[in-house]
């Protein structure tokens, strides 16, 4: 039982392939099999949000999804956020507004904010707080993050 399976997917625009057990979590596959350690593991039960990535354009937790389920999917991780060697406006804004300290929640926070701004390009502060409440940050008190998302929204509109 439990023979290894082949997983083929596109990550950050690049086609990748790996073999793993069916039980392997998508986040572990990204980190261990594809060497993309920018996505972090924080709780493995879908609460902290550090592992959030975009799957076919929508934010989802990669710690509560199997790698084999992502076969054929298009993923975006923090490593793929830059364009043409330049920081994404969200990345810029996080730096400008001190939206990170230890950096551990940052990948999930950025990917969640990206999805938030796609579904709601002009969020109020309350909507930003509600949107990023999907990710736990223990360092910043979220203040700089909220400011950063506000600023990025203005720039991306």
């Amino acid at each position: 039982m439990a023979d290894a399976v082949t997983v083929r997917l596109t990550v950050n625009g690049v086609e990748r392939e790996g073999r793993c057990e069916p039980r392997k979590l998508l986040v572990d596959f990204l980190r261990e099999d594809l060497g993309l350690t920018g996505t972090h593991v924080g709780c493995e039960h879908g609460i902290c949000g550090a592992c959030t990535i975009l799957i076919d354009g929508e934010a989802a937790r990669s710690c509560i999804m199997l790698a084999v389920q992502a076969d054929g999917a298009e993923l975006l991780t923090i490593e793929g956020l830059m364009r043409d060697g330049k920081l994404h406006p969200l990345q810029e804004a996080f730096r400008e507004h001190h939206g990170l300290q230890c950096g551990f929640c940052t990948p999930g926070m950025l990917m969640t904010a990206l999805d938030l701004l796609r579904t709601n390009p002009s969020p109020t502060e309350a909507e930003i707080r509600e949107g990023i409440s999907a990710v736990l940050c223990r360092c910043t008190g979220y203040h700089g993050i909220v400011r950063a998302v506000e600023a990025a929204a203005r720039k991306m509109r």
Binding site: Q91, H98, C102, G103, F104, R138
Partner: protein, 787 residues
């Protein structure tokens, strides 16, 4: 423009924002094994037998090691203290003989993957003989209680008292005594990165390297060397990028000892990455104290005396190096707060139970002491019909009284206690808020305002150890600053960083003091092989002690660089300025030398240097601020309580803080607000809960509730900037303060909101269920009982 004080954007952000940070779990070494620990399902039980054979048979498993087997490789930890009334106890890397809390590691499986290692854990057959569970300090102190540590002879691991004046007389003579039994429940630090470590043994040279998600690489190196019988210089401890610390990662953990021993035993690199379940079960926890306290005041509101008995549940082990005293002794040290308290008695008991060990957590003791004292101050004001701000202003230590020796012996070198309260009152629009509160009440809405003032000792030097009586030196740090031959600057420290932005702030200090360009300065820390001897980052010390060492080293280099430049330019060093990476002749700006040119000469040797000057451009300096310096702040919270649902919403939060001279206001604000978030969490949401049988009931992040952005308000921060008179650079520590003031401010605001119901709040966190019970029962006054 001066660099110190500028809101410089962080240099470390670029790697974190692009997914290029390197945390321990991101590191792999060839032939690396993954370890998983078998953890006790029982809170207190004898280990009858362990059969590891089936686990060892599983394909992919290299070894399964028990406590008895690892004992040949590593000694148990033993946290020593000079404190009278303290009983040291032992903590083995893997349990031997018995387990003392649910989650304690009993065996270690080494396998090719974490998945396989977890499979193998299920095949280890451990027979336990359960023992009576010591669930609370009360039970632990009762006659005939089972002992957590038989060798200690008692579950009371420490007692301590601070006494000044005649507090009983003050209570007798006072116009008013307010008192209560306060309870601050158990708290977890919850770094978003769980603990993790990776050990690599090099048998050829007999050297061990440990990468650990720790705040204290220096302390780990010293501690591990002793436990592993290795000379200190054969051990290297590296803290790479670390995903939050908050005090939780400032102890030496059994897993770190075990992983080192296992690497040496197997000859292969061994990595352990805790999962969240393990983190919640085994990382050090905080607070869990019951405080019987009374405050005596005159009719005009002048504080006469304060009396308190504090009982702490210190859990199953006395942690290395801080000991079981770390939290509770801080409570009695800081209960008098920033107030003039003539008569004081604070007594503390640290009691062992079958729970995860207690350790230092952001604020250490002071969130609890501030909660208690500030609640009593508010109650006194209410009973006297005084405004709580007015009563505080009457009792706060005034600038002309500084330095001030507190009743527990702490010296406040400086502080803006009165000013911070006045500014906070104004920033919050206190009168306006009170008027709004009245209007809201008439409309059936319950708004409350809570004030909390505190003072803390930061950058603690050698005169007072950071942990009472602990057998370690925490009062010094060093800095090595080197101008490389290419003119760039490498500044290395024994400190470690876990989000504070040292790579930016310490670079600001070095660049300004040396006269280098900020972009030319690289800060290295968290690696015992790369910097001077140091301990790490904890207790709000790095800006003060590390910054001081940086100033000394940078100034020494500046002086040498100027001497070299003067020699080469044939001018007097007094005629030179050094800034922006260039030494320039005053009045003749085209004449000068860059740091690169100066460094070139420095390394070229005698031919280009003044007679007798040692070659090189590098300096190491150490700094000891001796006493340490006082940071203070006032927090004001405005909350609204829904008395039907018992929900509490924090509407506003104002912080007026004084951390002395500011290196980077962005980072100070980030520290203050981040601390407030943890304090608000502590006041409303976060609580570690154990069942009577010692089982952890908050073993997931669905049950241990960390605040999200939706539970927190925007926080308004006002900086006061009175440079410390006693520290080099004038810096004061700011890492912990937010967490110290916030629980008290929120608690006082809730109590204020609920005054129409005639109730007081004496228990945190103020969960909706607790508020429901408070609001459902007729008001009774509880009287302090002796523990």
């Amino acid at each position: 423009m001066p660099l110190i004080g500028a809101p410089v954007r962080r240099v470390e952000d670029a790697r974190f924002l692009t997914g290029q940070g390197r945390y321990v779990a991101d590191l792999t070494l060839p032939r690396m094994l993954h370890v998983a620990f078998l953890r006790s399902p029982h809170a207190h039980a004898g280990i009858v037998s362990i059969d590891a054979h089936p686990a060892r048979e599983l394909p992919g498993v290299l070894a399964c090691i028990t406590g008895d087997e690892i004992a040949t490789q590593a000694r148990p930890m033993r946290a020593e203290s000079r404190m009278a009334g303290y009983h040291p106890t032992e903590c083995p890397p893997l349990a031997r003989g018995k387990v003392r809390f649910a989650g304690e590691a009993v065996a270690a499986v080494l396998a090719e993957s974490r998945y396989t290692a977890e499979d193998a854990l299920e095949l280890v057959d451990v027979r336990y003989a359960t023992l009576p569970v010591v669930g609370t300090p009360e039970a632990a102190m009762a006659g005939g209680a089972a002992l957590v540590h038989e060798a200690a002879g008692s579950n009371v691991l420490l007692t301590r008292a601070f006494v000044q004046g005649d507090v009983d007389g003050a209570m007798r003579d006072a116009a008013l005594v307010v008192g209560d039994r306060f309870r601050f429940h158990r708290h977890a630090g919850v770094t978003i990165e769980n603990r993790a470590c990776l050990a690599d043994w090099n048998p050829g040279v007999g050297e061990l390297t440990l990468w650990s998600s720790t705040q204290v690489p220096g302390l780990l190196r010293e501690g591990l060397a002793a436990l592993l019988d290795l000379p200190v210089h054969r051990l290297r401890v590296v803290a790479p990028d670390v995903g939050g610390g908050f005090g939780v990662k400032s102890a030496l953990y059994p897993e770190e000892v075990a992983v080192c021993a296992l690497a040496r035993l197997t000859g292969r690199p061994v990595q352990w990455v805790a999962d969240r379940r393990e983190d919640l079960l085994t990382s050090t926890q905080a607070w869990d104290e019951t405080i019987d306290a009374e405050l005596a005041v005159n009719a005009d509101g002048t504080i006469r005396g304060l009396r308190a008995r504090v009982v702490a549940d210190v859990g199953a082990y006395s942690i290395h190096p801080w000991t079981a005293a770390i939290e509770v002794v801080q409570v009695i040290s800081f209960l008098p707060g920033p107030y003039r308290v003539e008569h004081y008695r604070g007594e503390a008991w640290g009691v062992a139970t079958n729970k995860a060990p207690m350790g230092p957590y952001r604020g250490v003791g002071r969130p609890v002491s501030t909660f208690v004292t500030e609640a009593l101050v508010d109650r006194a004001a209410r009973r006297l019909g005084m405004d709580p701000v007015a009563l505080r202003l009457r009792n706060l230590i005034r600038p002309d009284e500084l330095p001030y020796r507190s009743p527990s012996g702490v010296v406040w070198d400086s502080g803006s206690f009165v000013e911070s309260l006045e500014r906070a009152r104004d920033a919050a629009g206190y009168e306006h808020v009170r008027a709004e509160q009245e209007r809201a009440r008439r409309a059936g809405r319950y708004v409350g305002v809570g004030v909390a003032c505190y003072v803390e000792l930061t950058g603690v030097g050698s005169a007072i150890p950071a942990s009472p009586g602990a057998a370690i030196s925490t009062g010094t740090e060093g800095a090595t600053v080197r101008v490389d031959p290419g003119g760039t600057v490498t500044a290395s420290f024994g400190l470690a960083c876990h989000g504070q932005g040292h790579e930016t702030t310490l670079a600001q200090v070095v660049a300004e003091e040396l006269g280098a360009r900020l972009e030319d300065v690289r800060v290295v820390s968290g690696d015992t092989a790369a910097g001077p001897v140091g301990t790490g980052t904890y207790a709000s010390r790095s800006a003060v002690i590390g910054g001081g060492a940086a100033i000394l080293a940078a100034r020494a280099l500046r002086e040498k660089a100027l001497a070299i430049a003067a020699h080469l330019l044939e001018v007097s060093a007094d005629d030179l300025t050094l800034g922006d990476g260039r030494a320039t002749v005053r009045g003749t700006p085209h004449r000068g030398l860059t740091l690169r040119e100066i460094a070139g000469a420095a390394y070229a040797g005698a031919k280009r240097l003044p007679k007798g000057m040692e070659p090189g451009l590098e300096a190491t300096r150490f700094y000891d601020p001796y006493f340490g310096t006082a940071s203070n702040a006032t927090h004001i919270a405005v909350v609204e309580v829904d008395p039907e649902t018992c929900a509490v919403i924090v509407r506003r939060f104002v912080v007026v803080e004084d951390c002395g001279r500011i290196i980077n206001p962005l980072i100070v604000e980030g520290q203050a607000i981040g601390g407030v978030a943890q304090g608000v969490g502590a006041a409303l949401l976060e609580e570690v809960v154990y069942a009577d049988d010692g089982q952890l009931l908050t073993g997931s992040l669905m049950d241990y509730l960390v605040p999200t952005a939706a539970e927190l308000p925007a926080v308004e921060v006002v900086h006061l900037e009175h440079p410390s008179p006693t520290t080099l650079g004038g810096f004061k520590g700011v890492g912990e303060g937010g967490t110290i003031g916030a629980p008290a401010a929120v608690a006082n605001a809730i109590a204020d909101a609920l005054q129409p119901f005639g109730m007081e709040l004496s228990e945190l966190p103020a969960t909706p269920d607790r508020l429901f019970r408070l609001l459902s029962r007729p008001r009774t006054t509880s009287s302090p009982e002796t523990p």
